[in-house]
């Protein structure tokens, strides 16, 4: 063959890809399949007019493979990169290779090479990422982000925190912990980086230009990032291209789901839902997006997002395919929540399943409705019809035992609103529902972690129903952290109510009000992660009451007050302490529930920035003013590894344990105070020694001459006595004789 012709042939062959793993279809469906595949591959480039060939067997069925010719070799390359391992459906995954590659690697004519085992890669020991948990006293770490420097510190209670690592310009916008505390995330224009281990070395990089928001899956397997800039591929010849993890099919997308372990993108999504399956019409302008974009099931198995008014998309990890290949169409759906745990006895085969709860408003003749559906079997296990609904909020108790739906309803005149609390009991048969009707509008609600008690903040001068938590692009993440937190205000007078579940002889009764406090300015509720203690605070705003903190104990160890109507509720509520941190912007419990950190950040426009650490009884331990203070973040801890029985044992023998800890505390304190006394003694001695030396020197230099300023006149103080007569009372009495 002349060289020229061979070259041309090579070039043509270079544009051809071989697709394997396509479905084997009968004659009738060949056309349909051709259409699907053509459309799919036209994503990668232009398919030549005659460039599609699907061999058909003698039985009229396709053979499961296809040849596709593109216009240029580059497009063929693109197809290999973008569509190899593409999951067409549950059974079929496409394998795309270049024709020339198959020839090169698969050609038997080439001399048979002997198999050479690849060299074994040396085992590199990975750093243990949870070493901070080995601290014997379970001391917690936290991040302080001030000015341009980010530091991680050990909490030393009232002492200055102990430095672990401190770096300037560690992050460009903000920092975050992963939900189990394994990684510290820094956010840069180029993407997100994860840091971990003893020295906080870099553990992973996720290239996502312009990234602003991030969210982890609950078990830290996946990371979701969002950038206002749609992904754009760099030119082919750019040196950066090789490091760029995206392909043509990712172009224009704004949300990326990453695998934390591999550091590679798992799937990309557009910001605006509904255009997921077809290509979005160019870049979207910056607009409000709701964050987190995806809600995760508690075991990282499913992630879902809602298209308001239409449907819920549930994706399955690790393939990131749609569950059962189709979305759940629900007319009018507004919002949904995953149960925070699998729920027993929900599945058909009595296997525990995840539950999603969602609500739909009143549409045409249909009443508003709250529905519980199992995932993955998609079975509706409970519905509840509601009337005159303005808004619903779904609050799961963190073990999934209860769901409280906060229903804001219109009064008959539709001029004002009131609130119903609908309690779904998922652990009981047929999921009974209990309704608590309130006259006021509830602005905040929080379940006790792992408990059945709750705190409600309501107000009678009802503000507009709080909008769904919306993170504007560029907003600090913390604002999205406390969903339902009313904006700056605090001037509104609120009512704080405490509820508990009756329990007599082990049988659950009704939810009863334990106590209520009027005329507060509190707007936020912060439960200790271990339950029992709750901090009710007035966050944000500029009024005089802002920053008020109330520390409540639900199991006060003292005389139990009988509360009429709630005798059976296992609780003894007491206000332990009150405090104030003027203009505080954030409150966070440490993960062990021993300390509360309140901080005022420059992002919250606080005049005086800094942080304070309180113990759980509301005693102020430490106060530090920090210029240009931005973030205070406790390092989260993974879930306990103790079994339920072990935990119960610990609780039972708490007094024994606490004795040991008390002794340790006393020893530590006396050690600290000894050091302090020694330090003061040293300072005092030093000062006195210096004064003595200076006095002697001065005496000598003066040579006995006393300047005018030190000459004493008459040293005796003149005593001036002033007698003031004061009439205290005058009374006139008539004496009759």
């Amino acid at each position: 063959m002349p060289a020229r012709i061979e070259d041309t042939a090579r070039t043509i062959l270079d544009t051809v890809v071989v697709v394997d793993g396509a479905p084997i279809v009968t004659e009738k469906k060949v056309d349909a399949l051709t259409k699907v595949l053509k459309k799919l591959f036209s994503e990668a480039g232009r398919v030549r007019e005659d460039g599609f060939y699907m061999p058909i067997g003698p039985d009229g069925k396709s053979k499961g493979y296809v040849f596709i010719g593109f216009e240029t070799p580059e497009q063929a390359d693109n197809a290999v990169r973008g569509l190899n391992n593409k999951r067409l459906d549950n059974k079929h995954t496409l394998l795309v290779n270049k024709f020339t590659d198959i020839e090169k690697y698969g050609d038997d004519d080439e001399e048979e090479e002997e198999y050479i085992a690849p060299p074994e890669e040396p085992y590199i020991e990975q750093e243990y990422l949870r070493s901070w948990l080995k601290e014997p006293n379970a001391v917690d770490q936290f991040i302080l982000y001030k000015g341009e420097s980010v530091g991680v510190f050990w909490n030393r209670k009232s002492e200055a925190p102990e430095d672990i690592v401190n770096r300037g310009n560690w992050t460009e916008t903000y920092v975050a912990w992963s939900p189990l505390g394994t990684y510290l995330c820094s956010v840069h224009h180029q993407g997100v980086q994860l840091w971990g281990g003893d020295e906080f070395g870099r553990k992973a990089r996720f290239v996502h230009p312009g990234v602003q928001l991030l969210d982890f899956s609950p078990c830290e397997n996946y990371l979701v990032t969002w950038s206002p800039e749609p992904i754009q591929l760099m030119p082919e010849d750019s040196p950066m291209r090789a490091a760029f993890p995206f392909t043509a099919s990712d172009e224009g997308k704004q949300i990326v789901v990453w695998s934390v372990k591999t550091g590679m993108p798992v799937r990309t999504f557009s910001s605006s839902v509904g255009q997921d399956n077809e290509r979005g019409p160019g870049p979207q302008g910056p607009k409000k997006i709701s964050w987190p974009a995806f809600k995760w099931s508690s075991d990282d198995k499913y992630l879902a997002r809602v298209v308001p008014g239409q449907q819920i998309f549930v994706y399955e990890t690790p393939g990131m395919g749609l569950l059962d290949k189709k979305s759940i169409k629900i007319e009018g759906v507004v919002d949904f929540e995953f149960s925070p745990a699998v729920i027993k006895g929900t599945g058909k085969k009595d296997e525990p399943e995840h539950v999603i709860s969602y609500w739909t408003p009143e549409i045409s003749n249909q009443s508003a409705r709250v529905t519980l559906m199992t995932i993955p079997s998609k079975e509706v296990i409970r519905t509840r019809n509601l009337f005159n609904v303005a808004e619903c909020r779904l609050h799961w108790q963190d073990k999934g035992a209860f769901l409280c739906v906060k229903v804001v309803r219109f009064t008959k005149t539709k001029k004002s609103t009131f609130t119903n609390l609908e309690f779904f009991r998922l652990t009981e048969k047929n999921i009974p529902i209990e309704v608590v009707e309130l006259k006021d509008t509830v602005i905040n609600f929080a379940w006790e972690p792992a408990g059945d008690r709750l705190v409600i903040i309501s107000t009678s001068d009802a503000p507009a129903a709080p909008a769904a938590p919306v993170a504007t692009p560029g907003a600090r993440p913390a604002a999205a952290k406390i969903p339902g937190m009313p904006g700056p205000g605090g001037a509104v007078k609120t009512l704080v109510s405490f509820y508990g579940l009756e329990r007599s002889k082990g049988v659950n009764g009704q939810f009863r009000q334990i106590s209520t406090v009027e005329r507060k300015s509190s707007n936020s509720i912060f439960w200790s992660p271990k339950g029992r203690v709750v901090v009710v605070a007035a966050v944000g705003g500029t009024s005089n009451n802002t920053g008020e903190l109330d520390f409540w104990d639900f199991d006060f160890e003292g005389e139990k007050k009988e509360i009429p109507g709630a005798e059976e509720v296992p609780a003894n509520l007491a206000l332990m302490a009150t405090g104030q941190h003027y203009q505080l912007t954030d409150i966070e419990w440490d993960p062990t529930g021993r300390y509360v950190a309140t901080s005022s950040s420059m992002w919250g426009r606080a005049m005086e920035t800094g942080y304070r650490i309180w113990d759980l009884k509301g005693l102020l331990l430490r106060e530090e003013h920090v210029e240009r203070f931005k973030q205070f973040l406790w390092r989260p801890r993974p879930h306990t590894l103790l079994t339920k029985d072990q935990q119960r044992d610990v609780r039972k023998n708490l007094r024994e344990y606490s004795k040991v800890f008390d002794q340790e505390d006393i020893a530590e304190e006396s050690q600290a105070s000894k050091e302090l006394i020694a330090q003061r003694l040293r300072l005092l001695e030093e000062w006195r020694a210096w004064r003595k030396a200076v006095d002697a020197e001065l005496e000598e230099e003066r040579g006995g001459i006393v300047p005018l300023a030190f000459k004493s006149g008459d040293d005796d103080d003149e005593i001036i006595e002033e007698i003031v007569e004061e009439v205290i009372a005058e009374k006139e009495e008539e004496i009759e004789d």
Partner: protein, 332 residues
């Protein structure tokens, strides 16, 4: 400790000064007058009228015969303390920020502001403590520091040196006889707002807008103690008898209207001089504290604020009884 509230001025206070015996309290403000009070009950002895501009500084000689004042009308005036008669006036090209008598009462130190092409300058005038004697027009020495502005100045012991504080946070030591710069150290990050000596002038305290106050050794300008506050500081004083310092300041006057008074930090703060700990605060003013003066016997102090008030405090017994455990353990 119930303070005596003195409402003698209509504008922000600039300086307070007790005389050597501590029975008189002089106050200057931006309203062009000097007030003199009896310190024990706050009764006004009199007012010295004559300046045409805001007053910046006042001092009185050790015999309480003559008072000197420096003002924004570019003059220093000497007054007869007893009668309030102006006995002498020196004129300058710019405002006079500081006046101070030396320990013998025969020399007066002054600094003038750097403005309108004139450099900030330190002057030392000879003074005769006699209300009828003529005063010398010519300074003994004068010197300036072209590159950075003087903000405060003071005499050292034995009239050896003149210590100056600067706009850039530096503190300098000049030879009082020759005007030669002997030593200059960077002490603060921002402007030095006050410089007050201990009674024997062997150490002094400086305060700054950088929210710290420091005690320096007069001899070598070594920083001996540092006090960290949470607001810009305008003034600080060292208390005799007790090892305390009193600091005052607060948010800048121009920012005050944007916040509540609780945010302003308009309290006088007490720190332990040796241990550097904050011991207590005293509320009262509703504007930043501009100046604090301590009674020479250590029995009380006076504070003057941007709010135009002077508050005179006499310490209670508990103030004198307060001791740290280690001080009890090792009595002097």
């Amino acid at each position: 400790m119930r303070p005596i509230l003195l409402k003698g001025h209509e504008r922000p206070l600039t300086q307070l000064k007790y005389n050597k015996d501590g029975d008189l309290l002089f106050s200057t403000a931006r309203d062009k007058i000097v007030n003199v009070y009896y310190s024990h009950n706050g009764e006004r002895l009199g007012t010295y009228v004559g300046h045409q501009g805001a007053l910046w500084s006042v001092d009185v000689d050790p015999t309480s015969t003559i008072a000197a004042t420096g003002a924004a009308d570019n003059t220093i005036k000497l007054w007869e303390v007893r009668t309030g008669r102006c006995i002498h006036t020196w004129n300058f090209p710019t405002a006079v920020k500081v006046v101070q008598f030396n320990e013998d009462g025969n020399m007066l130190l002054a600094i003038t502001e750097q403005r309108m092409g004139y450099q900030g300058t330190v002057y030392v005038f000879p003074v005769t403590i006699d209300v009828d004697a003529p005063q010398s027009e010519e300074p003994i020495i004068k010197f300036s520091s072209p590159e950075n502005k003087f903000t405060k100045a003071g005499w050292s012991y034995l009239n050896k040196w003149i210590i100056t504080g600067h706009l850039d946070g530096c503190v300098s030591k000049y030879d009082a006889k020759t005007g030669e710069l002997l030593l200059k150290v960077s002490v603060h990050e921002k402007e030095v707002t006050d410089l007050q000596f201990a009674p024997d002038m062997t150490y002094f305290i400086t305060t700054s807008k950088d929210k710290t106050a420091r005690i320096l050794d007069t001899k070598n300008l070594k920083v001996m103690k540092t006090f960290v506050a949470d607001a810009p500081l305008n003034t600080g004083a060292i208390t005799p008898r007790k090892d305390f310092v009193i600091l005052g300041g607060g948010q800048d006057a121009k920012d005050v209207t944007t916040t509540g008074s609780r945010q302003g930090k308009f309290e006088a703060r007490f720190y332990h001089k040796i241990f550097e700990d904050e011991i207590g605060r005293l509320k009262g003013h509703f504007g930043p504290l501009n100046h604090i003066a301590v009674h020479p016997a250590g029995s009380g102090f006076a504070s003057g604020g941007e709010d135009g008030y002077v508050r005179v405090h006499h310490f209670d017994k508990s103030y004198f009884d307060f001791l740290y455990d280690v001080e009890r353990m090792r009595p002097e």
